[in-house]
């Protein structure tokens, strides 16, 4: 009888020990997984920032006068042409969008002009959706805005050669 009690005591100690061990291990792995997920989130943020940065350097949009490229600047006429080429009403848009999937991936890219000195009123907001490819049944989306200058290479006498202020907004989708 005494031996049986001793055995049950040992089993109870082992069970408690196992519980504590499993709880500790789960807790530890939980923290580790959170830190890996944090790294992945950071990777996603960095990737999005890289994409926003890359957009202003794309030859399709950049401000280049006689081959000299300006930083953080996009050409308004190139922007309008690029948006038309990728527009859904263009019969070739799906084929052309396929060309741009490696560039933008699952994302929505908009360019918003928020201030132009010669616009009436100067703070009139103009928004152009450049690329829209939403991931079906996405679970997460994150946004980033990068300020840019919008150069008017063409236009009326009052606006030609002027710069407006705006931002590129990138929304990235993930499962």
């Amino acid at each position: 009888m005494k031996a049986q009690i001793k055995l049950f005591e040992s089993i109870a100690v082992m069970v408690v020990f196992a519980f504590l061990l499993i709880f500790g291990v789960n807790f530890y792995f939980g923290i580790q997984k959170t830190s890996v997920n944090r790294e992945l989130a950071r990777a996603s943020q960095l990737h999005m920032f890289g994409l926003a940065q890359k957009i202003s350097f794309l030859p399709e949009l950049d401000c280049a006068i006689a081959g000299i490229q300006e930083e953080a600047c996009i050409d308004a006429s190139k922007l309008s042409a690029f948006a038309s080429v990728l527009d859904d009403s263009n019969p070739q848009s799906s084929a052309i969008s396929a060309l741009y999937f490696p560039v933008f991936g699952w994302s929505t890219v908009t360019v918003t002009q928020i201030y132009a000195r010669n616009a009436v009123p100067p703070t009139a907001v103009r928004q152009v959706t450049l690329y829209n490819n939403t991931l079906p049944k996405y679970k997460e989306s994150s946004k980033m805005q990068v300020p840019i200058l919008i150069f008017n290479a063409t236009g009326s006498q009052s606006t030609e050669g002027t710069y407006a202020f705006g931002y590129i907004e990138v929304t990235q989708y993930a499962k």
């Binding site: 082992m14 061990l21 790294e39 990777a43 960095l46 350097f57 030859p59 006068i65 042409a81």
Partner: protein
């Protein structure tokens, strides 16, 4: 009674053994999972850093920078033109990036060199990766090789030699030979005798046809690479511009070069289409008839989605169609067509600049 006590002792030992095994297994699992998690975290961090480095490098033109390498080096893979950089279980796909590099780059650091590729407008930036373990020999004396030598940055290890026999095995892990014309058999002989233990990449340039022939090691012999893939499709082996030629020199092999060159042609098609649309919009809105006439010359086409039509297509539609055909066929059309269209577009763009009209690019 004695028998019961014996059973008790035996049971205790079995119990201790099982419990010990469970605890030991748990510790092994913890250690293993911890190792995997640490490796994943390091891989993700490396992946982030390298993604940021390549993105930043590709935004600059004609620059070379030295970046420290992780202990495991860089490992690239280009299976069926789905190219990526591998970091443990993770990888970064090249996507729209044209990165010409050996598949394995080891050592303390790597050199990242960027050049913009134009036809005649900038379509993309090329990234070349090399390091001190790679040596490039330019074999012979020719204006093309002299041009390559002049453009090669001092940080890249290269040497111009007049004869392939002058090449010495200096224990580099990879040796690249660039030559023109018919000395490929001589190179093969020297490679097979002097460079038996080295990863060898030979690029034979045909300057008149803008075509390239590649040789690489197959077991103990240096053999010509077959410009036809497993499905019988011809592989793109031509080059346009010195930047693409540098791509051929820096790439692992013919397939790697071809995949990255096709990526560049995809970008050329995309950029060309945007410029075509922009030029048409400029033509429709300009009040200057001289500008309008030039935009018309540049953009004229009966059908942008049709085949080549030299009589009716302006330079911009010709470039778009050429790039599209190269991407779809993944083979080498006559690059003179692209050269003529690019020269014509460059001349028109100059004319627009002189006329004070908004330029096409």
């Amino acid at each position: 009674m004695k028998r019961k006590a014996q059973l008790d002792v035996q049971f205790n030992w079995i119990f201790v053994l099982i419990a010990g095994a469970v605890i030991l297994a748990l510790f092994f699992k913890v250690a293993n999972t911890q190792r995997q998690l640490s490796a994943d975290k390091a891989a993700i961090r490396l992946q982030n850093d390298f993604d940021a480095i390549t993105t930043a490098a590709l935004q600059s033109k004609d620059t070379i920078q030295t970046v420290p390498l992780p202990k495991l080096g860089l490992n690239f893979d280009c299976a069926d033109c789905s190219c990526s950089i591998k970091f443990g279980r993770f990888s970064i796909p090249f996507n729209d990036r044209s990165i010409f590099s050996p598949y394995t780059v080891e050592g303390a650091d790597a050199k990242l060199w960027t050049l913009d590729w134009k036809a005649p407008f900038r379509a993309t930036n090329f990234l070349f990766i090399t390091n001190d373990f790679v040596k490039i020999y330019l074999v012979g004396n020719d204006p093309v090789l002299d041009r390559i030598k002049a453009a090669m940055p001092a940080d890249v290890r290269f040497e111009q030699i007049s004869d392939v026999k002058d090449a010495t095995n200096e224990k580099y892990s990879r040796v690249v030979f660039v030559t023109l014309g018919n000395d490929a058999p001589a190179i093969q002989t020297v490679m097979n005798s002097k460079f038996k233990d080295v990863d060898v990449h030979v690029v034979v340039v045909s300057a008149s046809t803008n075509d390239l022939t590649f040789y690489k090691r197959n077991k103990n012999m240096i053999e010509k690479e077959n410009a036809v893939d497993d499905s019988g499709q011809t592989i793109m082996t031509a080059f346009f511009g010195d930047e693409m030629l540098f791509g051929a020199i820096m790439a692992q092999d013919m397939e790697d070069y071809s995949c990255n060159a096709i990526t560049a042609f995809k970008r050329l098609e995309g950029v060309g289409r945007v410029y075509q649309q922009r030029a048409v919009e400029l033509k429709d809105t300009t009040k200057n008839p001289a500008c309008g006439a030039e935009y018309t010359v540049i953009t004229k086409t009966n059908d942008l989605e049709g085949g080549f039509d030299a009589a009716n297509d302006g330079p911009l539609p010709t470039i778009i169609k050429f790039a599209h055909k190269t991407v779809v066929d993944e083979s080498s059309p006559d690059f003179n067509i692209l050269q003529i269209a690019a020269d014509s577009l460059a001349a028109s763009n100059e004319k627009l600049l002189r006329l004070s009209c908004p330029t096409v690019y």
